[in-house]
């Protein structure tokens, strides 16, 4: 159990079967009275941030959270399959559980860090950039020299992003997975 005095940024605890990560911890005590610890924390399942106040001495159980390096193998419809780099054990994650829509940038063989809560995957962290094939886009406007003009393109993962007009079907493009924005075209 974690007592209030060991609360700190980054500590992961479980409240009502939900894992939370502490973002900010503030110790407050009125002159002679009861001390409180106010914690801002993120629900690791939904990403929502909430603040809670604890009396000094209150205890919370640690959240059973581990992060494992895994390789993305393939997906069948909405089920994504990963393999633990060390144990070769396979894990399945459904699309809806892939918070922040990381499924959009997953390519076969990609190295990821998967967060497991009580042994079940709840989130994955991707490399900052992912290279994906453009499956569909309208032909670029010929002779169009307007610089910042873009058009929608559907990628191999069925994600849709904005790309410059010169990008063609079959091109490989690099996407920043943190922002979901086009970076450049790979020759």
């Amino acid at each position: 159990m974690h007592e209030t005095n060991s609360f700190k940024k980054g500590l992961r605890v479980e409240i009502d079967s939900v894992p939370y990560m502490m973002l900010e911890v503030e110790f407050v005590r009125p002159g002679k009275g009861q001390a409180f610890t106010r914690v801002k924390m993120r629900n690791m399942l939904t990403g929502n941030v909430l603040s809670r106040t604890f009396k000094s001495g209150e205890k919370l159980p640690p959240a059973d959270i581990i992060e494992l390096d895994m390789q993305f193998l393939y997906n069948t419809n909405d089920v994504y399959h990963f393999m633990d780099n060390k144990s070769y054990e396979q894990h399945e994650i459904t699309k809806e559980k892939l918070s922040d829509s990381s499924w959009r940038w997953l390519t076969d063989g990609m190295q990821t860090a998967v967060t497991l809560f009580n042994g079940r995957p709840i989130a994955i962290a991707l490399p900052n950039f992912s290279v994906l094939v453009v499956e569909h886009c309208e032909p670029g406007g010929k002779g169009d020299t307007v610089t910042n003009a873009t058009k929608p393109a559907t990628l191999q993962t069925s994600a849709v992003i904005q790309v410059p007009l010169f990008v063609k079907e079959g091109d490989k493009v690099r996407v920043d997975t943190r922002t979901g924005l086009y970076v450049d075209r790979i020759k």
Partner: protein, 321 residues
Amino acid sequence: MIHTSTPTASERVKLLKKRSWFIKRVRHFFDALGYLEVDTPCLTRYPASEVYIDPICAYPFSQNNPYFLVTSPEYYMKRLLLNGSGAIYQIGSVFRRFEKGKMHSPEFTMLEWYAPAYSYQKIMQETADFLKFTLEVSKVEFMSFANCFKEFIDIDILGKDRGKVNIQLSDKITQIDKSAKVPALDFHEKLDYLMSFYIQPKLGKNLPIILYDFLIEPGTLAKPNKDDMTAARFEAYYHGIEISNGFLELTSHLKITKSLLKANEVRKQKKFLLWPIDDDFLQEMKNELSPTAGVALGIDRLLALTMGKEHINQVRNFSLN
């Protein structure tokens, strides 16, 4: 996180000089008033009986014989008063377990002074004078603790119908704190909660403010007022930070004993660790103290306020982490 960045050598020297200058000014204030500077031990056989303050254990003689680091020099200084020391002050380190935060450190520098024969008015005025001198402000404001609750949250905490007051406090907490889930709180804890998170940040915005007539709390050796609900105890705040706490001292041996026992009883109810009661102190208190007023003040907080720093580690020469 400003406070964790390592200060440069020249910043350290600057701080050393600033602290030294500041503490000289503090001494100057009390020396000029005829106070005697004293120094009492950091180690003590028994900790002070406080509901919400925990001591740090130390083992100076043997592994099975715990002593404690003082959480304040109060008991030692009162023993000096009984020996006829007259008006005394002390500047030194005190230690409190598990206190860490922007304005908390397990070790901090405390100023404590005792003035025999002072009235409640006189000790509050002297505290105000000290704040004017050290903070270089023209005026200090005063407000009673109960009025403070009326002013900020519109609740009469001294209301005759205690049940109603209790409900009003709970409603207020839910009303102002929708997002934060609040733990189960008793009456005093509700006051502490509202004070900590709602009222205190607004106190002393422009000028330091002294709140007086706090409610009677177990373990605090403050003299109760005639109304039997409040005590002759005050706290000073500036820019939302509590810097000082003072009171007219309980002098009766019986009442002091009862207060210490009550503090332990409350700790027991709250399932806190129980510490032994200071028998050495209680024995000496049998020769009752003459009326005395006393004040404790956090030097690091005061210095942080004068230097515009947000964390007391920024004004201590070394910080523990």
